[in-house]
C-alpha cells in the first residue's frame, strides 16, 4: 500500500468518525424532545412525537441523503454533501433514539413517580429530578448500540460523494482491483472504530453509575 492510499484511508476514517458523531449528536438532540413528547400528557405533543418517529424510522437513510443532495437544490437549497449526510443519518437515528428515551422513561417504576407526588413535586420537577436521571442511566447502553448502528450507516451515505472510509476504499479498489485486500481492510477498520466507540460508551456507563 502506498502512503497516498494510506492517507486516503485515514482521511476516510476520520470523515466516518465525524459523520458518526455528527449524526449521533443530532439524533440525541432530537431524541429527548421527541421521546418526552411521546410520554406527554398532552395529546397534541404525543401525536407530533408519533408522526416524527413513524416518518423517520421508515425513511431509508440512502433516500434521505439523495433527497437532501439532489432534490433540495431544485427547491433552491444547496447543502454540502457532508452536512446532508449528517442530516440524513441524524434524522433517521433520532427516531430510533427517541424510542430509547420513551422506553427508558416508561421503565422507571411507577412508585418513583408516586413518591414524587407524595413529596408534592410538580410533574415537571418529578420528571427532571427523579424520573429522567434514572431513565438516562438506562438509556446509555441502548445509545451505545445506536452509535454502532450509526457508524455502519455512514457507509451508505458514501453514494452522495462524501469521501468517507467506504468511498475512499472504493477509489483505491478501482485503482488496484484488489477487492479482498481493500474490503477486508475496511471491515477491520470499521471493527476497530466500533470497538473504540463501544469502549467509550462503557466508560460513560461506569461514570454515571450510582451504587
Amino acid at each position: 500500500m502506498s502512503s497516498a492510499q494510506l492517507g486516503l484511508l485515514l482521511y476516510g476514517a476520520w470523515q466516518t468518525i465525524l459523520l458518526t458523531l455528527g449524526g449521533m449528536a443530532l439524533a440525541l438532540v432530537i431524541a429527548f424532545p421527541v421521546g418526552l413528547a411521546r410520554v406527554s400528557r398532552n395529546k397534541f405533543l404525543r401525536a407530533v412525537g408519533f408522526v416524527y418517529v413513524e416518518l423517520f424510522r421508515g425513511a431509508a437513510v440512502l433516500v434521505l441523503a439523495f433527497w437532501f443532495v439532489y432534490a433540495l437544490p431544485s427547491l433552491g437549497w444547496q447543502l454540502e454533501p457532508a452536512f446532508a449526510g449528517i442530516l440524513a443519518l441524524g434524522l433517521n437515528m433520532g427516531a430510533y433514539s427517541s424510542e430509547v428515551v420513551r422506553g427508558a422513561i416508561q421503565a422507571v417504576p411507577p412508585g418513583q413517580v408516586e413518591a414524587a407526588t407524595a413529596l408534592n413535586f410538580t410533574p415537571s420537577q418529578g420528571m427532571r429530578r427523579v424520573v429522567l436521571p434514572q431513565a438516562v442511566r438506562a438509556m446509555i447502553p441502548s445509545f451505545g448500540n445506536n452509535v454502532i448502528e450509526q457508524l455502519k450507516a455512514t457507509a451508505v451515505v458514501a453514494v452522495v460523494s462524501i469521501p468517507e472510509l467506504t468511498f475512499n476504499g472504493q477509489l483505491i479498489w478501482s485503482g488496484n482491483g484488489r477487492a479482498a485486500a481493500v474490503f477486508g481492510g475496511l471491515l477491520i477498520g470499521y471493527g476497530i472504530m466500533a470497538l473504540v466507540f463501544m469502549t467509550m460508551v462503557r466508560l460513560i456507563e461506569r461514570k454515571v453509575a450510582w451504587s
Partner: protein, 256 residues
C-alpha cells in the same frame, strides 16, 4: 365537616367495587388504623388522600378544602393542578416498597422536597435532615445511596423523608409488609416514637395488630368497600361486635 372528610366516595376497578358510597371523618391529630381483608379498600383510601387514585364519585376534603374539586361560585368543579398541589401539601405518604430515589444519596432524598418544593434554604434543610436521620437511628448513613442500605434502613429513611416536609397528615401504607419481622420491629419502634413526639394525624394500613393497638386511638374495619366497624382499639381487638371482624382478627392472629 371533619378534618379529613370522605363524603359518599365510590370507586370501582372494572367490575370490582372497591369503595361503596363511603362516608367517614377523621379528626385533627387522630391516629386511625384501617384493617380488613385485602381488596377491601383500605389502601385505596390512602391513595385517594395522596391524589394517586381518583374517586369515581363523592368528595374528599382536608380541613374544609376539597382535594379533587374546587369551588367555583356555588359549584364544585374538578380541581386544577395548582389547587390540588396546595391541598396535597399537607399530606405525605410512606410506601410499602419504600420508593426512595436511587439516584440520590440518603441526605438528598430527605432534603430534595424541602429545598425544591417548600423553598427551605439548603443548609437549613440539611441540618434538619441530619436531625431526622438521628431520630431514625441512621445519622451515619447520610452519604450512602439507598441501594447500600437494608430494607429496614431504607424504610426508616423514607419515614425521615416524609417527616421532612412537615406534613399535617401522615399516611402509612403497609410500611412493614415487605420486611422480616425482626427488621419490621425497628421500623415500628421509629413510628411509635413519631406518634409519641408529634401531633401529626396518622392513617395507617397495617397487619401489625399489636402496633396498631399501641399507636392508634381508633380502628376502622373494612369489608367489601364499606366500614363495618369503627371502634377504639381496645374494643375492636378485645370485643369486636361484628362477626366478620371476629373472623378477620382470628385469621390475622393465627398467621403469626
Amino acid at each position: 365537616m371533619s378534618f379529613i372528610d370522605f363524603h359518599q366516595v365510590s370507586k370501582r376497578f372494572g367490575d370490582n367495587v372497591v369503595l361503596d358510597d363511603l362516608s367517614f371523618g377523621v379528626a385533627n391529630g387522630e391516629r386511625v388504623t384501617l384493617i380488613g381483608p385485602s381488596g377491601s379498600g383500605k389502601t385505596t383510601i390512602l391513595r385517594m388522600l395522596m391524589t394517586l387514585t381518583k374517586p369515581d364519585s363523592g368528595t374528599i376534603a382536608i380541613d374544609d378544602e376539597y382535594l379533587w374539586h374546587e369551588r367555583r361560585g356555588d359549584e364544585l368543579v374538578p380541581a386544577g393542578e395548582a389547587h390540588t398541589r396546595k391541598v396535597r401539601s399537607r399530606v405525605t405518604m410512606v410506601f410499602q416498597q419504600f420508593n426512595l430515589f436511587p439516584n440520590m444519596k440518603v441526605l438528598r432524598n430527605i432534603t430534595e422536597a424541602p429545598v425544591h418544593v417548600l423553598g427551605t434554604p439548603k443548609d437549613e434543610a440539611e441540618a434538619r435532615a441530619r436531625d431526622l436521620l438521628e431520630m431514625v437511628g441512621l445519622q451515619s448513613k447520610a452519604d450512602f445511596y439507598p441501594s447500600q442500605l437494608s430494607g429496614g434502613q431504607q424504610q426508616r429513611v423514607a419515614i425521615a423523608r416524609a417527616l421532612a416536609v412537615e406534613p399535617d397528615i401522615l399516611l402509612l401504607d403497609e410500611v412493614t409488609s415487605a420486611l422480616d419481622p425482626e427488621i419490621a420491629a425497628e421500623v415500628l419502634d421509629v413510628l411509635r416514637d413519631v406518634a409519641k413526639t408529634s401531633d401529626v394525624t396518622m392513617l395507617l394500613v397495617t397487619h401489625a395488630m399489636r402496633f396498631a393497638r399501641d399507636v392508634s386511638n381508633r380502628v376502622l374495619m373494612f369489608n367489601e368497600g364499606k366500614i363495618i366497624e369503627d371502634a377504639p382499639p381496645e374494643q375492636m381487638f378485645n370485643e369486636p361486635q361484628h362477626e366478620r371482624t371476629r373472623g378477620f382478627l382470628r385469621s390475622v392472629l393465627e398467621e403469626v
